[in-house]
Structure formats: C-alpha cells, structure tokens
C-alpha cells in the first residue's frame, strides 16, 4: 500500500509532483504516466475561425480532421482551424483522443456509437451531433481497446 501525502505550500511558484520510491516498478511507472498525462491534458491550443481566436477545452472537440492542407477541430455544430499537424496533435492531446484514420483523430469520450459497415470502414457517430467519421480498418483495433478503457479517462 502506497503512502500518499499532499503538502500545500503557499508560496510555491509552480505545482510539482515528487514520487519517492526505493525502485521504479510497474505501479510507479503507471503513476508517473498518469501524472504526465494529467499535466499534458492541461495543454491548450487556439482554435481559429475567420478573424476570431477561440479558447475552449479539448473536451468540447469531437474530432480533428485534415482537409486539403488544413487541420480542423470539429465541435458538435461547428469547425475551427488549428495550427498543428495531426502527428503533433497526437503528442499534445489527452489520452482520450485516438487516431482512427490517416486523416482523423477522435475524442472517444464524445463517441455515441460505432457502426460496422459492409465496406472496409466502420462509422462513428457522436453525442448530439450530425457529424460522422469513418474508422480505417487498420486503426479499428486500437479504437476498440481505447473504448474498452474509456472509464479510465473519466474527467
């Protein structure tokens, strides 16, 4: 059983997590990974539409997709340009985002259904949105795994 201690230091410039342990085992690695994830999920990006800049949390994004040379973040009823490539987004997005095609990364917390299709791709529907994304066969297994782990990503 791990000891957990939270120290509140009033004049600390930046929050810090220190893990004290005699060796780095699987549990420590998981904790380390989780803390890293939490700090990354606080990363923010700017969403652009015409001459407006928008600041809203990743949670509101259903998916990111490439269209021509641009990357768009789709919310339930709108779409915004972002200035990152998909592979860059993969590194900064919280773990509840997963690549489902060469051209799309989806937020699994916003998925309402996945419909198997007679053709190669399955179709994702989102909560309270008319939008859909198709999953490439090569990404389907990873998506299923992430969906199975979905309770771990509860915010």
């Amino acid at each position: 059983m791990l000891k957990i201690r939270i120290e509140i230091i009033n004049d600390l410039a930046e929050d810090e997590v220190i893990i004290c342990c005699s060796r780095v085992d699987e549990t420590i690695q998981k904790i380390h990974h989780y803390v890293l994830e939490q700090s990354l999920s606080k990363a923010k990006i700017i969403f652009y539409k015409k001459n407006h800049e928008f600041y809203f949390p990743f949670e509101d994004v259903l998916f990111f997709e490439t269209e021509d040379e641009h990357i768009y973040a789709h919310t339930a009823n709108d779409a915004y340009r972002v200035k990152y490539r998909l592979y860059e987004l993969e590194n900064i997005l919280p773990r509840y985002f997963v690549r489902v095609a060469k051209s799309a990364i989806v937020n699994i917390m916003q998925i309402y259904s996945v419909t198997r299709n007679l053709t190669a791709s399955s179709r994702i529907s989102f909560i309270d949105s008319h939008k859909h994304v198709y999953v490439s066969r090569s990404y389907y297994r990873e998506l299923q795994q992430r969906l199975d782990e979905r309770s771990n990503y509860d915010r």
Partner: protein, 120 residues
Amino acid sequence: MIDKNNIDDDNLYAKVILSSTSKYLHLEALKGGQIISYLGVVDVYFDQVQLWLDRTEVFIDCILGTINLYIPMHWNVVNNIDLYCSNVSNDTTRTKPSENAPQLTLTGKVILGTVSILYI
C-alpha cells in the same frame, strides 16, 4: 479514398471506390463539384460552406453505392438526378425555404444506389 486531380480550390471532388469517407467542406464560395461513389459510402457536409452566388451545381455519379448529403435546413435543393433502380430520399415535410435562399442543384445518375438528402 479521395482522389483530387485537376480540381481547383473552389470545387468539391469526392471519389470513393469500395470504401467510405466523410467530407467536410470549408469553402467560402463553392462553385461546383462531383461526388462519385462506386460500391462505397460518401458523407458530404455542406453546413460550413457558402455557395458561389448562392447557386451551385453538384454532379453525382453513384453505382451500387450510398451518398449522404448533409445540407443546411434553409437551402433549396433541386433534384435533377437520373435514377435507375435507385432512390433519392428527401425530407419533403420541412418548411419550404424562401426563393432567395441558396440553391444547390443535383445532377448526374444513380444506378442501384441511394442518395440521402439530410437537412441539418
């Protein structure tokens, strides 16, 4: 699979063969386009696009496939598609848009396929 050849930035071109894709349009002046589905499924979303001079024609070529068109509720849609053992589903119960509303004209052919016009 979407191929784009000899198509300028103001036109839509979506082609699918034995596959499925979603195409979200983000153009400020859509001048025209082609949607081709052979044994595949294409979803095209028009809700983030504006039509060039409010009048645009899109050519449909669908054989044994499905094309789903997501179109703003206030647009007029003129269906001039030739059908061969196929159907175009179109919600006729919605409130009729004004005559000055943007107009999307659909032409082309559907053979043993389905085109769905879905208003959003």
